[in-house]
């Protein structure tokens, strides 16, 4: 895994002594990083211009937790994306600088390298491009991108790491690539459910097993949208939260009426850790989410037909919840490689 402290230490050492020592071959300092994927996960495609290396990832992590990205140096990426909550936030709408509020719930960050696009409306195609958004969003970091880059470029450790990792001065490319590299290492796939799925048939209790069967049943159809190893097909769907949504979702970027009020299907991994739920954080707890699906949701014109009253018994509800709880990966939220 990432030998964060060691790398940072050696970089500090370099920064402090590079003038007095014999120059060290920079190439020796960075090494390709071997991303270890959980059993059953497909290979992750990593852009040619941002292959993973140890220093890239370490630099990305430092930037992720650096408040200097925001205009008044008060907010970092990590302020809204908390490791203890699978890199989501505990409030329905996170606060940006000066306590400003945007309009959407901070989603968890894991297995991002598999996402075909980002945000609830899918408006951003790559992880690197995504970095531009929170830095410039008036309700998040409210910083002109060139100014953020200029400020960070004054940090000698960042300059040194940029040279080692990307063989260039610290710039917009380095900032976006390094954060993207760190984010691709945020891989979560060691939940109780995964242990069961990988052959340990006693990992799930009987209730969770019944919940899994319900989840994949035609009657509930949860796995129709929350499908595959990451529990999402990344499609845009309406699950009947409201008759009229204040946020038009996917339509915001396509202007197509058939996309109105549709949101990217979220992964359900670590779902017990990521309350409150939905794009606006409007549902506070998991039992309430199950209740929402059981009721069949509001009669929105674009609601998917699979969202309909389910007439679940209270035993079925608690079985479904037991299964959802089994999707928590405790190793992910305690992994020191992801901590500042």
């Amino acid at each position: 895994m990432i030998k964060g402290k060691v790398i940072f230490g050696s970089i500090l050492f370099l920064v402090l002594f590079s003038t007095s020592c014999k120059p060290v071959e920079d190439d020796l300092l960075d090494r390709p990083y071997n991303l270890v994927l959980p059993a059953g996960f497909p290979t992750m495609s990593i852009p040619a211009d941002n292959q993973l290396t140890e220093v890239r990832i370490e630099l990305g992590k430092m930037l992720f937790f650096d408040k200097a990205l925001s205009r008044d140096s008060s907010v970092s990426c990590g302020s809204c994306h908390l490791q203890s909550h699978a890199f989501s936030d505990v409030v329905n709408i996170s606060s940006g600088i000066e306590g400003r509020k945007g309009m959407r719930n901070s989603p968890p960050l894991f297995n991002l390298g598999y996402h075909p696009y980002f945000f609830f409306d899918g408006g951003v195609p790559t992880l690197e491009l995504q970095v531009l958004a929170p830095v410039q969003d008036v309700n998040e970091m409210d910083h002109e991108f060139p100014f953020a880059v200029q400020r960070l470029a004054q940090n000698p450790a960042y300059q040194k790491m940029a040279q080692i990792a990307y063989k260039r001065d610290f710039d917009a490319f380095v900032l976006t690539r390094a954060i993207g590299a760190f984010e691709r290492t945020l891989v979560s796939g060691n939940s109780t459910y995964d242990k069961y799925n990988n052959g340990n048939s006693s990992a799930l209790n009987e209730s969770a097993k019944r919940g899994l069967a319900l989840f994949t049943s035609e009657r509930l159809s949860c796995s129709g949208c929350h499908s595959g190893f990451n529990f999402t097909d990344y499609s845009f769907q309406n699950n009947g939260l409201y008759l009229q949504y204040p946020d038009s979702g996917r339509m915001r970027v396509t202007t197509l009426p058939e996309d109105r009020d549709k949101f990217k299907v979220p992964s359900l991994r670590n779902i017990a850790l990521t309350a409150p739920y939905m794009h606006d954080g409007s549902i506070a707890t998991l039992p309430e989410v199950v209740e929402h699906y059981n009721n069949g949701g509001a009669a929105n014109p674009n609601k998917d037909p699979r969202i309909k009253p389910l007439t679940l018994t209270s035993q079925e509800k608690s079985d479904l919840l037991e299964f959802l709880y089994s999707l928590t990966d405790n190793d992910f939220i305690t992994n020191p490689d992801y901590a500042p």
Binding site: L129, L132, Q136, P146, A172, F173, L175, R177
Partner: protein, 252 residues
């Protein structure tokens, strides 16, 4: 201001081609037979230089100011006497008020050119590229004020904004914000202007193009529903702005 040559190679090819085709009839074998053109874009309002401090009065009697007036010029082509287009692909200009917005077109075969064509905006391939991959000196790199949408990745083709008198009485208090940010692939605006351009070997004439900013506001009220658009959130206003662009440019 900043112009950029991505496809230098294409120009070299073009230059070689021009050189080869010209040498056969040219007396001077030391040169390649081409000239170049300096194209300048100037933002004006009613014939005078547009400034960010001046107060203008719209046709509806509303006073307003224009604090930002930035746009991309790309896909420049010269049209020769046979109607053939000479393209200058890979060259982008980010034009701004009060700056020397110069685009240098090189390697132009000697001859007479009757039209200049260009787009206001960015072609659909480049529009979906990543600004961080361009050198910081490129007009396509992250800039301030931003010419790129981060929540719906793509460039802002035209960014014009300022302050306006929003009072019902139109009493001249210019303190309300207005802004029009035009972008997305379908909003690329094509412009064609008549020119009378003679290129001979080694010549480098200037071509002055004016953005008559007042013409951008045809049918736009800068009040009510016409006070702001980021394209997707106010398509009618975005469409009006796009429709006004082609006629707003003139050659001096």
């Amino acid at each position: 201001m900043k112009a950029l040559n991505f496809k230098h190679f294409a120009f070299i090819l073009l230059a070689i081609f021009a050189a080869v085709s010209v040498t056969s009839c040219s007396k001077d074998h030391d040169h390649d037979g081409t000239g170049h053109v300096h194209v300048y874009f100037t933002n004006k309002y009613d014939g005078a230089a547009q400034t960010s401090t001046a107060t203008y009065t719209g046709t509806n009697g509303r006073d307003f100011k224009i604090t930002t007036n930035n746009y991309y010029i790309s896909n420049v082509r010269l049209v020769d006497h046979d109607g053939a287009e000479v393209p200058f692909t890979g060259q982008y200009l980010l034009a701004k008020t009060g700056e020397n917005n110069e685009l240098e077109l090189e390697g132009i075969a000697a001859g007479h050119y009757h039209h200049i064509r260009f787009d206001v905006g960015i072609d659909s391939v480049t529009n979906h590229s990543d600004p961080s991959t361009y050198a910081s000196t490129s007009p396509l790199a992250p800039t301030t004020p931003s010419m790129h949408w981060s929540w719906n990745s793509g460039y802002i083709f035209y960014r014009i904004e300022g302050l306006v008198d929003t009072s019902a009485a139109k009493n001249g208090t210019v303190d309300g914000a207005w802004e029009m940010h035009l972008g997305t692939d379908s909003k690329l605006a094509s412009v064609e202007l008549d020119i009378d351009l003679e290129i001979s070997e080694g010549s480098h004439p200037g071509l002055n193009i004016t953005m008559n900013t007042e013409d951008l506001f045809t049918n736009i009220d800068l009040g009510g529903a016409d006070i702001a658009t980021h394209t997707m959130d106010n398509m009618p206003l975005a469409n009006k702005l796009k429709a006004n662009i082609a006629a707003a440019f003139t050659v001096e």
